[in-house]
């Protein structure tokens, strides 16, 4: 893990602040994410985790501070701009259209078209299915019924589809907001193994969870937020549950 510290950060947040009127939801917060690194964000409810990821993913405009992507200053006015730069957010409540196939979900909003009879533009469902099969294969997830709606799949499999969409569009930074919260135990383990794969592919992952078990199973570092400020940062190998809880509640 030492080699990681020399690599240039994929994402760097410097002195980021977000104020809602007098409420300082996020104050002077800094962190870095390096390639192939999983950084866990921990903190009690209202500590500012969601505000932070919304500021990074372009949902909120930060009040102050800087976001650097591969050393370059960036600012996003919409989530689409963040996504085009390779920052993809995966929500706990599964941002999928249940009635569409895996391929259609991966390409939702960016569907490939082809010309039928040489002139009529139509959706290229075949290309979508092929891409879906390949992408899901990279996540070790095999389906034969590529035309089946995703409502036929379980929660963990649907989470895999959401991650697959990010992988297909070559997201370099994946922000995962409680990706295991709505899932059963075997499904949680599936998602954890997916995160290991993303890490192995050299992507950066910001992982938000209330579940310290999951955080310790998958993360390299943990950043703790408390009332909008950074309460501490630890390497997972050098800390334990008790210390993290103390940082969270301010002991």
């Amino acid at each position: 893990m030492n080699s990681q510290e020399q690599t240039a950060p994929l994402l760097e947040v410097r002195n980021l602040s977000k104020h809602f009127g007098a409420v300082r939801a996020l104050n002077d917060f800094s962190m870095v994410v390096r390639p192939g690194e999983v950084v866990a964000l921990a903190g009690d409810n209202g500590a500012g985790k969601t505000t932070l990821i919304k500021a990074i993913s372009g949902v909120f405009q930060p009040t102050g501070g800087e976001i650097l992507l591969r050393g370059q200053l960036v600012s996003f006015s919409t989530p689409q701009e963040a996504r085009e730069k390779g920052i993809e957010t995966i929500y706990q409540d599964l941002a999928l259209a249940d009635n569409l196939s895996i391929g259609a979900n991966i390409f939702l909003g960016r569907e490939p078209m082809r010309k039928a009879f040489g002139f009529l533009p139509v959706l290229d469902r075949k290309a979508m299915a092929v891409a879906a099969k390949q992408t899901m294969g990279r996540l070790d997830f095999h389906v034969s019924r590529l035309d089946a709606p995703v409502s036929n799949f379980s929660g963990g499999q649907r989470q895999a589809v959401a991650i697959g969409r990010a992988v297909y569009w070559d997201a370099q930074i994946l922000i995962m907001d409680e990706p295991t919260a709505a899932l059963g135990v075997p499904e949680q383990r599936k998602v954890i193994s997916l995160i290991h794969q993303l890490k192995a592919q050299g992507r950066g992952v910001i992982f938000i969870s209330h579940n310290l078990q999951d955080i310790f199973a998958v993360s390299d570092r943990i950043v703790v937020l408390r009332r909008g400020v950074q309460a501490g940062e630890r390497k997972i190998s050098e800390t334990n549950h008790d210390e993290v809880v103390k940082l969270m509640v301010g002991g």
């Binding site: 299915a129 899901m136 095999h142 409502s151």
Partner: protein
């Protein structure tokens, strides 16, 4: 699409993630096509009834087939627009009176244009005017629902009243006769036994099927109906989509109004009044869910034909017309029950 690559098992030990049971897909397919099965069943029933009671054929009589097809045209035009709206999770209650408004506009515009330009051009001008004017309440509906976040049910109910009043005002409280022989020919003429109205509607339905099933607009429509949040996060411009959606449905009603004026050579504000609920019924019988996210144009075609066959067939076999309402109502209920049963059976999640 269902091809399984044989190399899959060799490289990986991970099991198949889906529980693909071919029998279940077949049941789902039968349930999807239930409107066509309904239609076939109804036609057989009426055929048997007609032969037993009068010794005459029902469906093999070309006059009956033509009449049913013409009968289905207006509700089907409303229902194609309604299909788009219902798939997106909305509903458009104003379509009936937008159709009436368009019928009145078509009559006035054709008459006015007929004084200045040749009759065939005047006819086209009238149809064009009807469709464009119908787009105006569509734009207002779309803006109310997308920008001001008024629920579709209420927004289009308001427009129902506005369009109704505007149509009656424009018509001066009466029907507006059309003086244009071309327009009358369009509404009542035939080509090799096929009424022009039916041909226009068939072409229109195919175009709408293409838009719904093969374009991004259609694909986004399904996604919005299933999960607006997901569609928004995927970068789809929801406001723009909703606006275009309600304009599209209003323009379907506009075409319906123009064809109504052609058929009766008169525009009447109440043209579409009884057709609104028929259009919703046709969409539901056709397999769409009122919760959004499912439905097809061809399903709606079958739904509209089911209603037309019931209405015409019951008159044909000389049953009191009030039974039509009961029969259509029963078909709607049975159709929704089949949909529910199929969801339970296929193991898909039922509550959203």
């Amino acid at each position: 699409m269902t091809s399984t690559s044989p190399t899959q098992g060799e490289t990986h030990v991970a099991p198949q993630a889906d529980h693909g049971d071919p029998a279940r897909t077949w049941i789902a397919r039968i349930a999807d096509g239930r409107a066509w099965l309904f239609l076939a069943g109804l036609i057989i029933c009426f055929e048997v009834w007609s032969r037993l009671a009068f010794g005459a054929t029902f469906v093999l009589n070309p006059f009956n087939v033509q009449s049913i097809a013409i009968f289905a045209v207006a509700p089907l035009l409303l229902a194609t627009g309604q299909t788009f709206v219902i798939i997106s999770g909305g509903i458009d209650l104003s379509l009936g009176f937008i159709m009436g408004l368009a019928a009145v506009v078509a009559a006035h515009a054709t008459n006015m244009a007929g004084a200045a330009i040749p009759l065939p051009l005047a006819m086209l001008a009238g149809i064009l005017a009807a469709v464009i004017v119908a787009g105006v309440p569509g734009i207002i509906n779309g803006l109310l629902i997308s920008r001001l976040r008024i629920p579709p049910f209420i927004g289009t109910l308001g427009m129902f009243g506005v369009a109704r009043g505007a149509a009656y005002l424009l018509a001066g409280g009466t029907t507006v006769p059309v003086q244009n022989s071309w327009f009358a020919l369009l509404g009542n003429g035939k080509f090799h036994g096929v009424p022009y109205l039916v041909m226009i509607t068939a072409v229109f339905v195919v175009v709408m099927h293409y838009i719904l099933s093969q374009t991004r607009f259609g694909q986004h429509n399904y996604a919005i109906g299933a999960n607006v949040q997901a569609a928004r996060r995927a970068g789809i411009d929801i406001k723009d989509h909703i606006l275009r959606l309600y304009v599209l449905s209003a323009m379907c009603a506009g075409l319906g109004g123009a064809l109504y004026a052609a058929r009766f050579t008169a525009g009447a504000a109440q043209a579409g009044e009884p057709l609104l609920l028929d259009s919703v019924a046709a969409v539901v019988i056709g397999g769409a869910s009122l919760f959004g996210g499912s439905g097809t144009i061809f399903g709606t075609v079958a739904g509209a034909l089911v209603i037309a066959v019931i209405q015409y067939g019951l008159v044909f076999v000389n049953v009191e017309p009030f039974w039509q309402f009961i029969a259509v109502g029963l078909v709607i209920i049975i159709s929704v029950l089949i949909d529910q049963a199929q969801r339970r059976f296929s193991g898909a999640r039922q509550d959203e």
